[in-house]
Amino acid sequence: MESLLKSFRKKNAISVIMNRQKRFAAADDSVPSGTDAARELARALHPKKQYVKVAAVTERAADVKSFTLVPDPARGTESLAWFGAGKYLTVFVTINGMPVTRAYSISSAPKDTLEGKYELTVKLVDGGLVSRYILDNWAVGTEVTVSAPEGNFEYQPLRDAKTVIGLAGGSGITPFLSMAQAIRDGDEDFELILLYGSRNKDNILFFDKLAALEKACPRFKVVHVLSDADAEAGEGFEKGFITAELIRKYAPQDAPYSVFLCGPQQMYAFVDKELEKLGLERKYIRHEMFGEFHNPAAQPDYPAGVPETVKITVTQAGETKTVEGSSNDSVLQILEKNGIAAPARCRSGECGWCHSLLISGEVYCPKQLEFRRMADKQFGFIHPCCSFPLTDLVLDVPEAK
């Protein structure tokens, strides 16, 4: 057959190899550096764990405390990871042999990390396990282990409107406090109008700090919304609940705005209905995560005839155990209650850290918390933090690193 590449001569494979060998022979024979700027940056932003110590405790109200956390070089953390305002840390604690995790939004300014400081603010939840433990046990000097900053409840200039109406309830103030400070420091670039719901004046967290921030930063405004019937109101206060009407009153009249929500689950249920009345595009409404889900049996689509207790056979790093638990608890909780540490960050179905394989059995996942990848559903992967057992289960759960 006639060649289409007539003028080319075939190169001898041996000469090609010799040429390559020559290049290698001349190369540096030191151990490869194993690093570069991209890797260093990834490591700085996403440390596997951060080992910190409580440096200060501040009482914010009855059963609400802020904890200042600083690096603990003795355990290997020299500096704290930078974060975008709105992110949370997952706290790892062991209570009576139970390895558990909880998410807390960082309430300090991103800039404070450069001085080696994070602040978490923990509010007691009635009957709550971890909030109670932290409030009772954390004191100056306590060694604490936290995750890297996590989450997606952040301002994104290419997506969000220039003005954000922040809707906060109770301890849901924490991410907004960080955002307001980030705006003041020039780390974020947007207008924040915060409608902060509290029962009465005495219940407002960070009242002075919010007022000072408002003074220092013209792009931040706070309106306290007090729900107690006899709450005193006045300049800068509103009475009642966060309603569509109230949002309209403070939102820009002739420009788009985004609404960010962070607060207790009951607040989401109420405010979501109000937001519907505003007819905003979905892209302009963002929720911080739902938090841990309780009492699945109250859901309308929860099946009948679920046994009270179930057996879970779980393989983790090659070892298999069988444990028992209540069908009212999430799979993650059952594992923890049996002393099995499982990977988790958000505990709200969203982050995917707890991703595990369900080999047999059935679970219930509330619709609001269904953030699994599509193929996961097809191949039997679940998020144990928001999966409730309906039958006995066989699971493969990754090691909690």
């Binding site: 540096d28 151990v31 194993g34 890797r39 997506r159 595009e281 979905r282 599509m374 090691e399």
Partner: protein
């Protein structure tokens, strides 16, 4: 369970998945370790709001049909891994914007001044005709190139069949050897493809990371041929579907997979690897280790410094790292029709010359070109009704993050994404920004974090003429640091791409399986 394995595979990227699946299917006691909590490496997905994004896959060129599967299709069929493939019948559209005063400029389809606007169809004949209509005189040379690549695949088939006829190989397929040892540029010149047509012909170069001046024609056509011949395929549920399907094959065949399990050390005995330390605490032992981690990180991270063979160190230091991609993922609250998209892939290039595009991408982001993909063109139901998914990709080389502090990183991400989106809006004459409902921006540190590769590059080592597929293939054995420790993935002979990675995993597994059969 005993902690002794026949083979331990480090890393569940495409290479590691394929390797573990082959080993498990051959009945070897197999352990696959992955530091992330899901399989796939690049081949996964992530959820934001009501969107599920594809992190890496633009298109797969060799899936074929269920009746006649091609390379990647065959891998899945042989493994028994089921994937719901979606094929689409388009290649790419290359647009080179023109300045106002550029004499070559004209007003293109979108009402924007361009120098090149080439929407290329599938099919050798149709592609060549279209090329000719843009650059007269291109038809014959273009058809010659496809003739060469057709010959090349025939030669591959013969080599693969095991019935090699050396005389026929040298006489009938002599040109194939020439393609192997000449650059794409040299070959295009030799068949007389006009300069301007060459830029259009090689627009896919970014998927290989090497420009036509530096990669051999065989390598370029091995990819190009498949795309033009049969269009491209995508898994219906993002790459995560493919990775889950292989995960299942491994487990169904008795293999063990551990996620969240980072190999932190290779255990040595008598100067040879004998096991792996996991997460700095657990030890497991294996006769063979297949490693999907890039050698430039695997060697210093996993081995004691005095146990790395000199040759391995020189090879790691002597080979430039390939391209890094960076991507903006957009969940749009409008349909593709409402937005005005009707192409799956648009390549927006600052210049028509591929080699110049390569030079503009050195050491920085934003210099080279932007690929914009509209996923709904390939998979109409990939996002909820009334929405669509776009992703924008750029290419860069080297340590582009130098000097960037953690506190500046978010602003940098926004700036890079803003520039890319703005460029797309201007070039396509449409509006994107007001409709962004979800956005995620992956820059080199993002990929570094998930892939654990130098500069976050997904492409392995630069496939240059001196280190092309040919010498890599011949020297495969010599490139491995120990005879029971084999690398697989993009760093190996075929470079980047899903198909290449699966191939290298299967190849490493094949070697291990053979040695077991021989009782070694």
């Amino acid at each position: 369970m005993s902690n002794n394995y026949d083979v331990i595979v480090i890393g569940a990227g495409n290479g590691g998945l394929a390797a573990a699946a082959e080993c498990a299917r051959a009945g070897l006691k197999t352990l696959l370790l992955e530091k992330h909590n899901i399989p796939g490496g690049s081949a996964s997905s992530f959820v934001r709001g009501r969107f599920e994004f594809e992190p890496s896959l633009h298109e797969l060129c060799t899936v074929g049909t269920p009746e006649k599967p091609e390379n990647v299709g065959q891998v899945f069929q042989e493994l028994g891994a089921k994937v719901d493939w979606r094929t689409h019948n388009s290649t790419y559209r290359l647009i080179v914007p023109a300045k106002e005063d550029d004499p070559e400029g004209f007003v293109g389809e979108n009402g924007v001044r361009v120098k090149v606007d080439a929407a290329m169809p599938v099919g050798f004949e149709a592609f060549s005709r279209k090329l000719d209509s843009i650059v007269p005189g291109s038809y014959e040379p273009s058809m010659k190139i496809f003739k060469l690549s057709t010959l090349m695949f025939e030669a591959f088939d013969m080599l693969g069949s095991g019935k090699v006829n050396p005389v026929k190989l040298m006489t009938k397929y002599g040109d194939v050897f020439k393609m192997m040892s000449h650059t794409a540029k040299e070959c295009m010149d030799e068949v007389g493809l006009p300069e301007k047509a060459q830029g259009i012909f090689t627009a896919y170069w970014c998927y290989l990371g090497g420009p036509p001046m530096r990669i051999d024609m065989l390598y370029y056509m091995a990819m190009m041929h498949g795309y033009i011949k049969g269009g491209a395929s995508m898994p219906h549920l993002r790459s995560h579907e493919m990775s889950c399907a292989i995960d299942k094959v491994i487990r169904d065949n008795g293999g063990e997979i551990r996620y969240n399990s980072e190999a932190t050390k290779v255990l040595m005995k008598d100067g040879k690897p004998c096991g792996v330390e996991i997460n700095g605490k657990t030890e497991v032992y294996g006769r063979y280790i297949i490693c999907n981690v890039h050698p430039n990180f695997a060697l210093p991270d996993l081995f004691p410094a005095d146990q790395i063979p000199e040759d391995a160190k020189k090879k790691a230091n002597g080979r430039p790292v390939a391209a890094t991609l960076y991507t903006v993922y957009l969940g749009m609250n409008r349909t593709k029709e409402e937005l005005g998209f009707h192409d799956y892939s648009v390549f927006i290039a600052p210049t028509a010359d591929s080699d110049e595009q390569f030079h503009l991408s050195q050491g920085k982001m934003g210099g080279g070109y932007v690929i914009i993909n509209c996923m709904n063109e390939a998979i109409p139901d990939c996002s909820p009704e009334g929405t669509s998914i776009l992703f924008l990709t750029g290419i860069c080389y080297g340590d582009v993050m130098q000097g960037v502090k953690p506190q500046d990183y978010k602003k940098m991400k926004t700036k890079v994404a803003d520039e890319m989106i703005t460029r797309c809006e201007k070039t396509l004459g449409l509006s994107i920004k007001p409709y962004i409902e979800e956005i995620e921006i992956g820059l080199p540190p993002t990929f570094s974090r998930y892939l654990n590769t130098p500069y976050g590059s997904p492409y392995g080592y630069q496939l240059d003429m001196w280190d092309s597929m040919l010498p890599r293939t011949i020297q495969y054995g010599k490139d491995q640091p120990f005879d029971n420790f084999l690398f697989c993935g993009a760093s190996q002979e075929r470079g980047d791409g899903y198909g290449s990675a699966y191939y290298t995993g299967q190849k490493a597994a094949g070697i291990v399986i053979k040695k077991f059969k021989e009782g070694k």
